[in-house]
Amino acid sequence: MASSGLELLWVSLPQLGKGAAQTLSISFLSIAFSTVGGVLYGVLRTLNNRVINAVLRVYLELFRAIPVLVWLYLLFFGLPIFFGLSLPSFWCAVLVLSLWGASEVGEVVRGALHSLPRGQREAGLSIGLSAPQLYGYVLLPQALKRMTPPTINVYTRIIKTSSLAVLIGVVDVIKVGQQIIERTYESVLIYGALFLFFFFICYPLSAASKVLERRWAQA
């Protein structure tokens, strides 16, 4: 049994690898877009523009209140119907995870910027910095320390949540696993392998965030 189990994993490896590649590319792209979008969101929220704030709060609440799965279904089935725009399931998953991730990262960035002493902004303005210079040279570099650990936690959540993409037809590592189980009934073995896969990707990230948090708390 044990040897046949290992044998099964071995022969399934190429197939599982392809699924893992899908999972990782969805996650990586979503993390990248979330970071860019989140920084943009955080900066825009601290400009204290009433219109921008109102729009962004609606966006935030929509992604807080509605499950990612519903967003996936809504865009995957809704876009073709309402806009005649049909996104492949892969890109639909990236889109939803990025929008959701950006709202999470964005709140972290906003909080980090908000926690800086007000005098930093005033000192920057008083030497004539423009708004982009103020954020680029003074505020964001200081916020970086405060926002990195919680942002890494958002990244691990994006990786784990990417597994929902199965439900709109993405053949990711979980879907591949299920296909193997349907053929061989080795559910414990395959889910055990998936367990290790996610653990070894997410655990180092969350460990890194802990280390950074501790190191920067001392400084």
């Binding site: 000192a123 030497i127 423009s130 210079q133 040279y137 003074v138 200081q142």
Partner: protein, 258 residues
């Protein structure tokens, strides 16, 4: 000669509360004006309006001949001409001393790095901190940080410097080193607007004293006349509070000799 800075009927509100009421004040080039008054009288707000950290409500504020309350005012340009030093220094903690000083000259004024650096080092020399150029703010004492903050403003080559209670957060021992730097600037003929609670310093450095209370200017005077013979009862009362401490009765009686 027309004034370098001229407030006329200048008003400022925070919500419903009017914090500056019909301020008239003109400052000549090269003049040192010290603004005194109780906490919350609007002294700091007056300075902050001058470089656009607070938005004025109405009236007129002219600087070097142009109206700052105009919608088209380029505040980034104005702020390069009007340097500001804050009570809590507000150095950028993630940058070395030299980077703090050079951020404005290099990124805002796009000056030649060698020339700007030479000026920065010369100014550091002047405030006695040349050896701290590579230090970070957290490694410096309050007095040192404040002197660096002054250099950061000076290195923009402003026409005016605003000092907003710059010694209020310092240990008494460090007050002197900062005040000496400001006194040096005054001696060199720089235009200065100073908000302070250091009465002896105000008396020594000011060409003119302005006394404010509750958003109004109550008195304009020369320092000698203000400190020896204030024109308003309120100013007199204010000054008495500062001399109160030195005339306090001792807590315990002198031990009696037996």
């Amino acid at each position: 000669m027309s004034a370098l800075i001229e407030f006329q009927g200048f008003n400022k509100f925070f919500g419903q509360a009017q914090v500056l009421k019909g301020i008239d004040l003109s400052v000549q080039s090269g003049e040192v004006v010290v603004i005194l008054g109780p906490s919350g009288c609007g002294k700091s707000t007056l300075l902050r309006c001058l470089n656009g950290l607070e938005v004025a409500h109405s009236g007129s504020l002219r600087f070097a001949g142009s109206e700052l309350l105009d919608k088209h005012t380029d505040w980034r340009q104005v702020r390069q001409d009007i340097g500001m030093v804050f009570q809590s220094y507000h150095l950028f903690p993630h940058m070395s001393v030299l980077d703090n000083i050079l951020l404005g000259p290099l990124k805002v004024q796009k000056r030649d790095p060698r020339e700007a650096r030479a000026q920065a080092e010369q100014l550091l020399e002047r405030v006695g901190l040349a050896d701290k150029r590579d230090a970070f703010p957290r490694q410096l004492s309050g007095g040192q940080q404040q002197r660096i903050a002054i250099v950061r403003s000076l290195c923009m080559n402003p026409q005016v410097m605003l000092f907003d209670e710059v010694t209020a957060a310092l240990d008494p021992e460090m007050v002197k080193e900062v005040l000496e730097v400001i006194q040096g600037l005054a001696r060199d003929g720089m235009t200065l607007l100073i908000v302070t609670h250091e009465m002896a310093f105000a008396r020594a450095v000011a060409d003119r004293v302005v006394f404010m209370e509750a958003g109004r200017i109550l008195e304009y005077n020369t320092p000698e006349a203000f400190f020896t013979n204030p024109q308003t009862a309120r100013a007199q009362q204010f000054l008495e509070k500062f001399s109160f401490v030195s005339t306090l009765p001792k807590k315990s009686k002198e031990p009696e000799l037996i």
